[in-house]
């Protein structure tokens, strides 16, 4: 059974910023993040009656959002592969444009640097990316991330640690490239 309008609006007001920002960090595209936010709230509306309260509502919403984002990325990647053989669509620019994304919530002086950071975050594996984004960007604690990702706290610690080391290594490689170009 779906929620009534008032309850749904209340729920939307409470969680829309969380869902939208997580989707934005994941997908790095404003239109895609809005699309995911729509899909997440439609799913919440349709399946809230099946929510078994084994976890908190917030955790459940985090999980739905992450799964939707991962599915979206997989779908886009399959489209990308299709473009290699097939006809190019209008969305191609959008797909290839991810690395040019400027996060609207980032301070002006950090825009260029964060663009590079997000570009490298996209090269991480699914779990590392999720753990890093939830930890560094969303500011969640390791036990909170562990609950969302259904992993142990030590696994999350290791994922975040690995993600940070990979990012540092890749950023330092970019620095070397940058210096080579300059010289």
């Amino acid at each position: 059974m779906a929620l009534d309008n008032k309850d749904f609006e209340k729920l939307y007001n409470q969680y829309n910023v969380l869902v939208y920002n997580l989707a934005l960090n994941y997908l790095q595209n404003i239109e895609d993040a809005e699309e995911i936010t729509q899909d997440v709230f439609i799913q919440i509306n349709n399946s809230l009656s099946n929510f078994q309260e084994k976890s908190s509502l917030k955790t459940w919403i985090y999980r739905i959002t992450i799964n939707k984002c991962l599915d979206f990325i997989k779908h886009k990647n399959s489209q990308k592969r299709f473009f290699i053989f097939g006809k190019k669509s209008q969305n191609e620019f959008e797909i290839s444009n991810v690395s040019n994304f400027e996060h609207p919530g980032i301070l002006l002086e950090n825009k260029e640097k964060s663009k590079l950071l997000f570009e490298i975050i996209n090269e991480l594996g699914e779990n590392q990316k999720t753990a890093f984004l939830l930890s560094k960007v969303d500011g969640l604690s390791n036990p909170e991330i562990a609950e969302i990702m259904k992993l142990s706290v030590s696994s999350v610690e290791s994922l975040v640690f690995r993600a940070k080391s990979i990012l540092k290594e890749k950023i330092s490689n970019k620095f070397k490239e940058y210096r080579k170009k300059k010289n």
């Binding site: 779906a2 309008n5 749904f8 609006e9 939307y12 829309n16 910023v17 939208y20 920002n21 934005l24 993040a33 809005e34 936010t37 729509q38 709230f41 439609i42 509306n45 349709n46 996060h103 609207p104 919530g105 980032i106 301070l107 950090n110 640097k113 964060s114 590079l116 950071l117 560094k136 960007v137 940070k164 990012l167 540092k168 950023i171 330092s172 620095f175 070397k176």
Partner: protein, 88 residues
């Protein structure tokens, strides 16, 4: 600038990040989609129910006709046996 400093600056570039609000029209879009989904689903329920009813009526008709056929065949066999009184 040293590599470590540069790396650290990049890694810390999301510090002070502000939460962004989605478009104000998004809630209306979601509600429209939900309403549309409900409309579509009731239409599909009707289509499914109609198809189901049609299938059942076809099955009943087929069963009836096959029953009539088999009983008439039985009657023919019985009548030939009773006429000749021979099994072979």
């Amino acid at each position: 600038m040293k590599s470590e400093n540069w790396t650290l600056e990049i890694m810390e570039s999301t510090n002070g990040m502000v939460k962004v609000h989605p478009s104000k029209l998004l809630f209306d879009k979601i509600q429209n989609k939900i309403n549309l989904e409900n409309k579509v689903s009731s239409k599909w329920i009707f289509v499914a129910a109609a198809t189901f009813a049609l299938l059942i009526s076809i099955n009943i008709k087929l069963l009836k006709s096959s029953l009539i056929k088999s009983s008439s065949q039985k009657e023919t066999v019985i009548s030939t046996i009773s006429n000749t009184n021979q099994l072979y």
